[in-house]
């Protein structure tokens, strides 16, 4: 006698078939309607309050919902008017007076005016502001030089700075400087980040936690209504899953495509866009102690690392070889005469022999991941091999990103000879000012974890920060690049090219050197 008889098997089979049919019979991934762009994001946003967030992932939404007083001209990192139509800078560089655009309204219907601008900066900067408790505002220090914001008349606002601060305008173009609706902050308080209201080309529609953020076209946008009807941002944290969604048509636009997945998107169905940005991937060298205290050995490391091989093979062409401390994306401040150190192991060996550190043991801090770090373990291993080829004995220590920062930021002294690092900035001032000056040694609160010090560089960077002439600043930065290139406090490795894939239904999409995702002119058929 059987445990099953055929009838039972039949029932079971029919049931299985029914379940499968239920799944398969329905149309798979319901195609998104034309005019609606689905963007695959790398994570759930924290908040849609520009003053409260720090992640590029969140900026990709915010830049389409809000405007700042100024913005980057398309395709560059130079500022142009946005909510402000123009500005005057006082002779001494401490007063900025902005003329504001007339007739602009926030999505909630309230008017954009000088009072709104003052509200935004006071909320971030003044502890006693009634809405300061809607923070914390981690990047408020971008505007720490702002002493007072004064309303001159409804369409004129004046910023008084405590000292001249050249990056002020590009900081205003950064997401932290985006202008939110004071009425909406008053209405929602700490929940403003989930009920945002700005002046941008898209207005907030819906946030389904861990599923999607939906924004809809703002037909009254002052700079012309967007072509899309709506944008849906879907958080898909796993890069493989994001790739699969793109291949299956579940999303129309995917950012941060892993290098290994790029080959999947060749062919007519997809377009891959690339754009080098203000990013630098480098190795901090401990210039205070050990072999790298000698400039010749630091230069030797720059000669020894095969940067072409790193960007071509490890990063599959998703980055370009870096020449010096300033990324070429800052076109106006970039010195084109500074050339990358060529790959020259023989020269490296000669320099090492000259310095008498042949066979020196190096401790190398490598991170497992982290923002802008690309493929840190594979890169670390390749660099280790390059350095061992010229006679060093390199020991890698690998740490999880936050642990890594906790070891590197306080300085490498007594712990390591070199460490991986990457920065993405919005002004040529930021990285060298925070990480190359003598005053930026870790004990003084900076990021100069390798203790580089050159009085001339300090002088140039201080002068560039207080100058209000872009040409003058450019000249100072170019001098700085030449000196730093020669001093080699870092091994300059790569400038990341941000990439994105769009489906064949998407047109007019362009990546920006700022790495912001601007969708106003994008069309979806």
């Amino acid at each position: 006698m059987g445990v099953f008889d055929w009838t039972r098997r039949g029932v079971l089979g029919a049931a299985t078939g029914a379940v499968l049919a239920m799944g398969a019979g329905l149309p798979a991934a319901a195609q998104t309607p034309p005019g609606v762009l689905v963007v695959g994001q790398i994570a759930e946003p924290k908040a849609l309050d520009p003053a409260a967030v720090t992640a590029v992932n969140d900026f990709r939404i915010l830049m389409n919902v809000y405007d700042g007083l100024v913005r980057y001209k398309s395709g560059t990192l130079e500022v142009e008017p946005a909510l402000a139509t123009g500005w005057d800078i006082s002779e001494d560089g401490t007063e900025y007076t902005f003329a504001l655009r007339e007739g602009v309204k926030f999505h909630d219907g309230s008017a954009f005016d000088a009072e709104a601008v003052k509200f935004n900066f006071d909320r971030m900067l003044k502890d006693d502001h009634p809405y300061h408790d809607t923070g914390p505002f981690p990047l408020a220090f971008f505007f720490s030089s702002v002493e007072e914001v004064t309303v001159i008349d409804p369409l004129t606002v004046k910023f008084k700075l405590s000292a001249p601060y050249a990056p002020f305008l590009s900081n205003l173009a950064y997401p932290t400087g985006l202008i939110v609706s004071p009425a909406a902050v008053a209405k929602y308080g700490a929940d403003f980040g989930r009920n945002p209201s700005g002046t941008g080309p898209f207005k907030f529609a819906e946030w389904r936690s861990n599923e999607a953020v939906v924004v809809e076209a703002n037909a009254d946008y002052w700079d012309g209504a967007p072509s899309l009807d709506a944008v849906v941002y879907r958080p898909i944290t796993d890069a493989n899953t994001r790739t699969a969604e793109m291949l299956a048509g579940g999303i129309d636009l995917m950012v941060e495509v892993p290098p290994v997945a790029l080959s999947q998107f060749q062919g007519d169905r997809f377009t891959v866009s690339e754009q080098a940005g203000p990013h630098l991937w480098f190795l901090i060298l401990n210039a205070k102690e050990g072999p790298f205290a000698d400039k010749r050995v630091r230069q030797a490391a720059n000669y020894a690392v095969n940067k072409e091989a790193l960007v071509d093979n490890v990063l599959e062409g998703t980055a370009a070889v870096a020449a010096g401390p300033t990324p070429p994306a800052f076109a106006w401040a970039y010195d084109e005469t500074v050339q990358p150190y060529p790959y020259d192991p023989e020269k490296a060996k000669a320099l090492i022999a000259e310095a008498g550190v042949d066979g020196a043991e190096l401790t190398f801090y490598v991170t497992e991941g982290g923002s802008g770090m690309l493929d840190p373990i594979a890169m670390g291993t390749a660099i280790q091999a390059d350095l061992e080829a010229v006679g060093f004995d390199v020991k890698i220590e690998t740490y999880e990103w936050n642990t890594f920062l906790g070891r590197v930021n306080p300085g490498l002294e007594g712990k390591a000879d070199m460490a991986e690092m990457a920065w993405m900035t919005n002004d040529p001032d930021t990285l060298p000012y925070l990480a190359l000056r003598t005053e930026a040694w870790p004990d003084k609160g900076g990021f100069n974890s390798g203790y580089y010090s050159n009085p001339k560089v300090d002088e140039l960077l201080d002068a560039a920060r207080v100058s209000t002439s872009q040409d003058e600043r450019a000249a100072l930065y170019k001098q700085m690049q030449q000196i730093v290139h020669d001093d080699a406090p870092w091994v300059f490795v790569a400038n990341w090219k941000q990439n994105a894939v769009t489906s064949d239904k998407v047109a007019n999409f362009e990546l920006q050197p700022s790495f912001f995702l601007l969708l106003k002119d994008v069309v979806k058929n």
């Binding site: 006698m1 445990v3 239920m22 799944g23 398969a24 329905l26 798979a28 991934a29 319901a30 998104t32 309607p33 689905v38 759930e44 924290k46 908040a47 409260a52 720090t54 992640a55 923070g135 914390p136 981690p138 990047l139 220090f141 980040g193 989930r194 936690s209 861990n210 599923e211 999607a212 849906v232 879907r234 898909i236 944290t237 796993d238 493989n240 899953t241 699969a244 969604e245 291949l247 299956a248 048509g249 579940g250 923002s371 802008g372 999880e400 990103w401 936050n402 642990t403 920062l405 906790g406 070891r407 930021n409 920065w423 993405m424 900035t425 925070l434 870790p442 609160g445 900076g446 990021f447």
Partner: protein, 315 residues
């Protein structure tokens, strides 16, 4: 029985208190703090100190622990730094998603596992037994995340039968068939390993029981074989199968982490992984305590069920 349940509930209190201490201590001791994680490149000591002050992390750990515990006892789990919303809202929402996924997987693996085990045992060394044993070995050996990715590749990307990821469709979804379509692959991928384990143990439990005298007696009396297997033997074997189910429920729940990442399922496991990487202390603590409490409750339910099935187990 009421007294037994009450006793078990009371004994859960120190367990849960211990969990709060452990998770708090771990989050306090791991390197890296939320301010550094939030500030990223801009984590100067000055900025970190200010942000820690704003986040209320500048107080001594012991003080913070008791504030946290006190608030939690009043139902306030705090606010997530990284998601900027109340921890409890997030945890409950995400736990629901995990329950749907793990619950479905658990039902699948229990039914299929016991079924396979019983069939295997009833037909020991027959073709069905051999086929099942082979399938079980295969199932136990495949890592669930790999299986998940392969399923995505075949059924979502190539055949386009099922959606790649998520819990509901972005457009026109939200109903039960939509949920079912999104649930099919992750639930199957999650159930496979546990099905294998349950099948193996059910098989041996059944074989054990089938050798006993009362089965021979039943057969001798002329009880139909189907009733001997499904009525007499399985009922007796359930006493040793149920604890296995309890343990597997824990495995399914923790295994859900990988599946949630691969299928972008908005569950509590993925939430915890993200929260740990972002050093979102309150979310990690609240999430772990909540999940642990549910797990402890589940164990109590299993123990009670077992004592109901087998009166020999002391109540």
């Amino acid at each position: 029985m009421g007294g037994y349940i009450l006793k078990r509930l009371i004994s859960a209190v120190p367990v849960l208190l211990g969990i709060t201490v452990i998770v708090f201590a771990i989050m306090a001791l791991i390197p890296g703090d939320p301010a550094t994680a939030i500030l990223g490149s801009y984590a100067t000591p000055e900025n970190v100190a200010k942000l820690n002050r704003d986040l209320g992390l500048d107080q001594p750990a012991v003080t913070r622990y008791f504030i946290w515990l006190g608030n939690m006892l009043q139902g306030d789990f705090g606010r997530s730094f990284a998601l900027n919303r109340p921890v409890l809202d997030e945890v409950v929402e995400r736990f629901n998603a995990t329950l749907i996924l793990a619950g479905t997987a658990f039902v699948l693996c229990s039914l299929l596992g016991i079924l396979a085990g019983v069939v295997s045992a009833a037909r020991q060394y027959g073709w069905a037994d051999k086929a099942i044993t082979f399938a079980v070995l295969l199932g136990i050996s495949i890592p669930s995340f790999f299986l998940g990715m392969m399923m995505i590749l075949i059924f979502a990307v190539n055949l386009r039968w099922l959606p790649v990821s998520g819990m509901y469709a972005i457009y026109g979804g939200g109903d039960f068939p939509d949920l079912l379509r999104h649930l099919t692959m992750p639930a199957l991928a999650l159930a496979v390993v546990a099905t294998g384990v349950i099948a193996r143990l059910s098989r041996s439990a059944m074989l054990e029981v089938l050798r006993q005298d009362f089965i021979r007696t039943a057969r001798a009396k002329g009880v139909p074989e189907r009733r001997v297997i499904w009525g007499h033997a399985l009922r007796a074997a359930m006493v040793s199968i149920i604890p296995v189910l309890g343990i597997q429920a824990g495995f399914v729940l923790s295994g859900a982490v990988y599946i949630e990442i691969v299928f972008q399922w908005p569950g509590v496991g993925r939430m915890l992984v993200d929260a740990i990487l972002k050093r979102d202390i309150l979310l990690v603590q609240g999430g772990v305590v909540f999940v642990a409490a549910c797990y402890v409750m589940f164990n109590i339910v299993v123990d009670v069920a077992q004592s109901l099935l087998d009166p020999r187990i002391k109540t």
